[in-house]
Amino acid sequence: MWSRIISRLLTSLVVAWASVTATFLALHALPGRIQDILAGDVEYPGLREAIAAEWGLDQSLPMQYFEFLSRILRGDFGTSYVLRQPVIEVVGSQLLPTVELALTAGVLAIVIAGLIALLTAGRGRLSRELASFVELVFASTPVFWLGILLLMAFSFNLRWFPVSGAEGWSSLVLPAITLALPTAGLLTQVLREAMEKTLDQPFVTTVRSRGVGEFIIRWRHVLRHALLPAVTLGGWLIGGLLGGAVITEKVFGRPGLGTVTLGAVLTHDVPVVLTVVLLAAFIHVAASTVLDILYVLIDPRLRAQ
């Protein structure tokens, strides 16, 4: 188990290093001077010199590379020349709302998926058909589209929830639901499929033969088995949530990484985009490490090997 986790952590280091290097190379591979690329929008005398100094562009390529690496290690991700602020501040100030949104949505999705799967797996054909159709629809609906519709319905017309902003839970409800539903849709499909596979396992018959109630069977035995494939989905799921958050924030005019990233992409604010992506990668790796541990906790058979 530990070897698994350690290797995961090593992997994450490799990943981080590789992605940083890749970006560095990409930057240099791009047509045009790095000064211009990094300056993006902004246009004023002295800017390019400033950048050249900050990125040590006067030095040899390898020197630049190590300079770049060590800066990242020092947590110095450079300056946004569009926002005229250290990137780390810009991003840092936006991290919380996004994490808040993604987490809420994630939990929501898991709860929804778990419940529906528990209730419908291997049950009456009609309810199952209906459920799986609804899931399919949600899993196949663009997040932003869903968001717009919810916004129309519950904010503009019914006025149950605020339209935008990030003050208090009420402003979190709609975005969270928007982000959660498509995820839940897919998660439910996986969970149910896994549960039905499990329900066909002989041991379920054994458990039934002990006179255990149907719900207990699902709750105590089947669900746990179904979690395994769900957990394997986890990493992908987190990615989806982070990515979805970008779009959701745009739709609901919520502050957060998404808004910053999009702005950065559009104004060609490379340092910011870079930092955000690296951050996302870091979050992802951290999360999947946790998932690995979870995996082993769920399935004792993995502890041996």
Binding site: G32, D36, I37, A39, G40, D41, V42, E43, Y44, P45, G46, L47, V82, L83, R84, Q85, V90, S93, Q94, P97, I148, L151, M152, S155, F156, R159, P162, V163, S164, G165, A166, V251, F252, G253, R254, P255, G256, T259, V260, G263, V265, L266, T267, H268
Partner: protein, 536 residues
């Protein structure tokens, strides 16, 4: 059609209603206002800001020496009186003595000098420096008298000193360096103090209690009525509208025409359009040095190849007029002669293109010349797209395609790409509304040899650039008027520029929000200085 008339009626009524309201009950102090705005300023420091949307925000905490009135004349503000020397090279301002910056610093001639020198200093790389081209140095005549000395006469200088870009910031703040992030660090002398700024969310301003001066163009002087103003950054139209209808904000800017009826006709809301007409137009700026647009016939075909009227009507539902000149109809310098002088001559346009040799047609029905498609790119920087202007361009694009087989290739580009194109003068058509200032300065900005569009283009049109330079130099208002008229004429006649429409701002508010208005100097909503909320 019908709908549109109704709408216009609605707007008119609303306007009457508000003005009436203002007449009746007198302003009361107190209350907080939440203002939903389209654009989140990339930089709050007026010296560095470049987005128009940033300036009316800045006006709340930044004062200028003088204030521009709607009629184009100027009123005192931080300067009580001013004089211009004969040779037009020396501007002397007498300053108020009771003004303090938000950080407690005293406001005096030294402070003014500090600001102007700071802006002029190259290594500070201040955006506003374009206004101080002629500025040479400042002399502190006495603690409260400042003399600004120019190297060459500049007919736009007085206006410039009223411009928020040259607004005054506490020397202490200036010394601190980067102020783009706003907050208390950014200390002006304005009616509101910059409380705090949450990126992606809001900026909060609190009343400056000690404010007992005020711009001469405002309805009152002394402290502002509102205790605090919160700007909420809501980039989405639907979201802004929804935020107002669902009562999350009291006032929104950038109401889109289709939503106007929601407020124009609703009880409890009011809709404001303004300035009563823009002082500058939204225009296609055609790079006349790049083929195929270097051929005047092509440019004219582009100018006349479509009927602008219905497109503008359709996109803005008749809430804004189409434009005839670079300068907006409300601007005193507006050249009325141009009205009806061009446009919508499809037959003529086709004839011109035939003459120009664009006689072939390709599979998609576009004109071609020796195999090359007649295509001109409109590079529109995404961050600047607002107010459905991309839709409008799509309309023109469709019409030109249908009428004359010209491919107006609209591309929403990143600001970065634009910056590059501009740097090496490879842009083709740039859609733009210039930040308003003195008409000569405005024309110089868009068409002048060192303006922001042509500064990197080898040899711009001799005639028009020289006219512009002269109009900037001359101190004789009559001569200046002749020149600006001529420039506008040549610009449109040569189709260096195709004016599209005269944008106006739409404000929608709860009916208890009063004192709303627009500031000529900004061509945008005014600061919240005169706003007040009626007690119910």
């Amino acid at each position: 059609m019908k709908k549109n008339n109704l709408l216009m009626g609605g707007v008119a009524i609303a306007l009457l209603a508000t003005s009436a309201a203002n007449a009746d009950d007198k302003p009361v102090s107190g209350g907080a206002l939440r203002w939903g705005v389209t654009t989140e300023p990339a930089c709050f420091d007026p010296h560095y800001a470049s987005q128009q949307a940033a300036f009316f925000v800045a006006r709340n905490y930044i004062d200028s020496l003088i204030a521009k009135k709607t009629d184009g004349t100027f009123a005192p503000w931080l300067a009580t009186e001013w004089s211009i020397s004969e040779d037009g090279k020396e501007y002397t301002y007498k300053l108020r003595e009771d003004v303090v910056f938000h950080d407690g610093e005293k406001f005096d001639a030294a402070a003014v000098k500090a600001n102007y020198d700071f802006v002029k200093k190259p290594e500070n790389a201040v955006t506003a420096v374009s206004l101080l081209q002629a500025y040479d140095h400042a002399e502190v005549v006495s603690p409260y008298v400042i003399k600004l000395v120019l190297s060459t006469p500049d007919s736009s200088f007085l206006e410039s000193t009223s411009n928020v870009k040259l607004g005054l910031i506490s020397p202490k703040s200036l010394a601190k360096g980067d102020l783009c992030g706003g907050g208390r660090a950014l200390a002006g002398t304005g009616p509101f103090v910059f409380e705090n700024y949450t990126r992606g969310q809001s900026a909060v301003f609190a009343r400056n209690v000690g404010y007992n001066w005020g711009p001469g163009n405002a309805a009152h002087s002394g402290p502002a009525y509102l205790d605090r103003v919160t700007f909420r950054f809501l980039p989405e139209y639907a979201v802004r509208t929804g935020a107002l209808t669902s009562g999350q904000v009291d006032l929104i800017e950038g109401v889109q025409p289709t939503d106007a009826p929601l407020f124009a006709e609703q009880p409890g809301f009011k809709l404001l359009t303004g300035p009563s007409g823009a002082s500058t137009s939204f225009t296609f700026n055609i790079n006349y040095t790049r083929p195929p647009a270097d051929d005047v016939r092509v440019r004219r075909a582009l100018r006349d190849g479509f009927d602008l009227e219905p497109i503008v009507k359709q996109v803005y539902l008749g809430t804004v007029p189409r434009a005839w000149s670079i300068i907006g109809p409300a601007n005193p310098a507006y050249n009325k002669a141009l009205v009806g002088s061009w446009g919508n001559d499809i037959a003529g346009a086709n004839k011109l293109l035939d003459e120009a040799g664009w006689t072939g047609r390709d599979s998609e029905g576009f004109r071609t010349k020796d195999g090359k498609r007649l295509s001109i790119e409109v590079g529109y920087p995404q961050p600047y797209v607002r107010d459905n202007r991309d839709i409008l361009i799509q309309g023109v694009q469709a019409a030109l395609r249908k009428n004359v087989g010209l491919d107006l290739n609209l591309r929403l580009i990143t600001a970065g790409e634009y910056a590059k194109n501009n740097a090496n003068g490879t842009w083709a058509i740039y859609p733009n509304t210039d930040n308003p200032s003195d008409p000569a300065r405005e024309l110089w900005d868009m068409l002048g040899s060192k303006g922001f569009l042509y500064s990197n283009i080898p040899n711009p049109d001799q005639e028009i650039t020289s006219q512009i330079d002269e109009s900037l130099r001359t101190t004789d208002p009559v001569r200046k008027r002749q020149l600006t008229d001529a420039i506008q004429k040549r610009g449109v006649d040569q189709a260096f520029i195709v004016p599209l429409f005269a944008p106006s701002w739409f404000l929608a508010a709860k009916s208890n929000v009063n004192g709303l208005g627009f500031e000529a100097g900004l061509d945008s909503p005014s600061s919240a200085y005169d706003f007040w909320i009626a007690k119910k």
